[in-house]
């Protein structure tokens, strides 16, 4: 989910909350990526995800149940770069195993809410940062024991 927040980053300050609708299955905010949307460097150390005009909704009062969802669209580019520091997360009780590395991740995005005449564009990708990022490979569910 993408939050646009004037002032300190806190839920009370957010004025827009962008994400795809929840699927009928209960899957949260997941959409398919077109064939050329994800680029992986030959050595696997950089993932670049780029998508244009993804249909999303703006729910400023999320997670309130009666939060109105206004149709919106989002274009973005996101880059994960491995730091090389190994990471392994595994929980046999939950049938998942992740093996990979820590990463640095940066994002640039453009969102539009046509019905209210609002749009917002981030500064260039290099100016953003995330405090947590990982990349690698995972198996879960029926593939965990395989």
């Amino acid at each position: 989910m993408t939050h646009v927040v004037p002032g300190p980053a806190a839920p009370d300050n957010q004025i827009h909350d962008f994400h795809p609708p929840i699927a009928p299955s209960g899957l949260y905010w997941v959409v398919p990526v077109p064939g050329d949307g994800l680029t992986i460097s030959p050595d696997g150390s950089t993932f670049t995800l780029e998508m244009h005009n993804v249909s999303i909704v703006d729910q400023p009062r999320w997670p309130a149940l009666d939060s109105i969802a206004t149709p919106a669209r989002m274009s973005f580019k996101m880059v994960w770069k491995s730091t090389g520091e190994p990471v392994k997360y595994e929980d046999a009780s939950k049938h998942f195993r992740f093996t990979g590395t820590r990463a640095a991740c940066q994002l640039e995005a453009h969102v539009e809410v046509p019905s209210i005449g609002f749009s917002w564009k981030s500064d260039p990708l290099s100016t953003s940062k995330s405090d947590f990022a990982i990349m690698g490979e995972e198996v879960n569910g029926r593939y965990y024991d395989g």
Partner: protein
Amino acid sequence: MSLLNEHSRHSRRDILKSSAVALLPLAIPSAKSSWQPQQPMTANGGTDPYPIPWLDKNGSHNQPAGPNLEPSHIYHFKGRVARCSTFTGMGSDNQGNRIAFGSPTTDYGVMQGEYWAARAPQQGTLTHI
């Protein structure tokens, strides 16, 4: 009064009305007649991926991002995955106002590989945004 006598008092209009009522069931498609022949088909469920079965603290299939937490958002999956959260950055709206983005729950993820749905392996790339 005999049935014969009663019957003899019916006008031609009454007979036409009765005939129309008698034909009504033929004019309204019944459940049986709406059954159309179909091509042979399977019934294995949709090809959309399954959510992770475990619920988050809010009772939702929304996986938070963080150390020791599962990166994938979909279940029965094997492949590449990347995850991130707690973004900070700046931007501008269409009025020229400088507005920040990001919070601890501003998170994204991408999954590319094989997942199991519709009782068969599926290939795909999906993102949580």
